[in-house]
């Protein structure tokens, strides 16, 4: 599910009540956890950091819920917090690490060959994203994966639309170069 398809129903419970219930928080977390984790994972490129940053993003969002003025924008608001959390992390660490393979894949509906192919394809795409700069990667993930309009991507990255278009274009060009070099 992408941010643009997200339904903001659970957030209304959070906004209406100043003392939010644990149930409403849990619902909000459960319904957005996967999307936010994947979004952060695409930006930072490894599971362990994505886990920490996802937790951080949710704690930030739920602690600052009073900042949310319009509940219809809850999905983008949470996305923005997640993106900024991931970008801050990359800025602090100035590094990008690759996928980990510490757990054995478990999926019984696919043959081992299919699992291997799919996992290789995922790894291939993630490595392609890793060739971009953090801001190019974030712009590409938000525009091409999350399907957000360029204006919203610019807002999330706190830059002008012209800058974000340049990040998106550069990201796509680098990604295409990577795909051409590693043609499968």
């Amino acid at each position: 599910m992408t941010a643009s398809q997200w339904v903001s129903a659970p957030m209304s419970d959070l906004v209406d009540s100043p003392l939010i219930s644990q149930d409403a928080q849990s619902r909000f977390v459960n319904e957005n956890l996967r999307r936010i984790f994947l979004q952060i994972y695409r930006i930072v490129g490894n599971v362990a950091d994505a886990q920490d940053l996802t937790q951080e993003a949710f704690i930030k969002a739920l602690s600052r819920q009073e900042q949310l003025k319009d509940e219809k924008k809850a999905a983008h608001w949470l996305s923005r917090i997640a993106t900024n959390t991931a970008l801050d992390f990359l800025r602090r660490n100035s590094r990008v690490s690759f996928c980990e393979m510490e757990f054995a894949p478990e999926r019984h509906s696919e043959s081992p060959e299919e699992i291997l192919l799919r996992s290789e394809h995922q790894d291939y795409l993630q490595k392609g994203l890793d060739t971009l700069s953090p801001r190019e990667r974030a712009a590409l993930v938000l525009r091409d994966v999350e399907d957000l309009p360029a204006e919203e991507v610019a807002r999330q990255l706190s830059c002008s639309k012209a800058t974000v278009r340049s990040h998106i274009a550069n990201g796509r060009i680098k990604f295409r170069k990577y795909a051409t070099r590693n043609a499968r």
């Binding site: 644990q22 894949p105 795409l125 274009a169 796509r172």
Partner: protein, 203 residues
């Protein structure tokens, strides 16, 4: 008659990259579309850009291979529990971090009043030597209490003076608590997200 065929220059990669997902303005888009109608090379590049975006989008909802199947459920449970714990700790910190009226409002006034009284007492003592030996009241500051660890009902609490940290367990869950001689309480319970273990230390 000789016809001179002047090849149109190719569209820059940047424009093709933006065109491939409708990120170009109206006029630029029209120019690119006209060019693509008669330039196979640029048309091929535009198709490649589109295919790569589709490939990325298709993979958007897929978990990394390391998190297939139950591994994601385990990780999600762990993250949910950590988020709950983080929020509980955050509430406590923000409560403890709020400036108390006693600490930041009353105390300076109290100190000022005590200083005034002391000056007054000294002046009176100088005027009346018989009062020289009169004891001057010295403010006594309360000693900070050492932290106390307490586990009761559905929560584990660590308190120090008027500050406290409480880590609640879900109501009705079967909480197993272990107390260590080093000043730690370990709570273990099972809820709908899995097994949660909370360690609270008093230092």
């Amino acid at each position: 008659m000789i016809q001179l065929k002047v090849p149109a220059s190719h569209i820059p990669q940047t424009q093709l990259a933006l065109y491939s997902r409708g990120d170009l303005g109206f006029w630029h888009r029209k120019v690119v579309e006209r060019h693509l109608n008669h330039c196979e090379e640029c048309a091929g590049a535009a198709v490649e850009f589109i295919q790569l975006q589709e490939s990325l989008r298709r993979s958007s909802d897929r978990m990394p291979a390391a998190l297939e199947g139950s591994a994601w459920q385990t990780l999600a449970s762990e993250m949910s529990a950590n988020i709950r714990l983080g929020l509980s700790a955050g509430e406590c910190v923000s409560f403890a971090g709020k400036p108390s009226r006693v600490a930041f409002v009353s105390r300076p006034r109290l100190s000022l009043a005590l200083a005034g009284l002391t000056v007054l007492a000294v002046l009176i003592a100088m005027e009346h030597p018989a009062l020289h030996r009169a004891p001057v009241p010295v403010p006594v500051q309360a000693q900070a209490e050492s932290p106390t660890l307490e586990a009761s009902g559905d929560e584990t609490m660590v308190t120090s003076g008027d500050r406290g940290l409480s880590v609640p367990a879900p109501a009705g869950s079967n909480v197993i608590r272990t107390v260590s001689a080093h000043g730690a309480v370990r709570s273990r319970y099972v809820d709908d997200t899995g097994v949660t273990i909370v360690n609270v230390y008093a230092e």
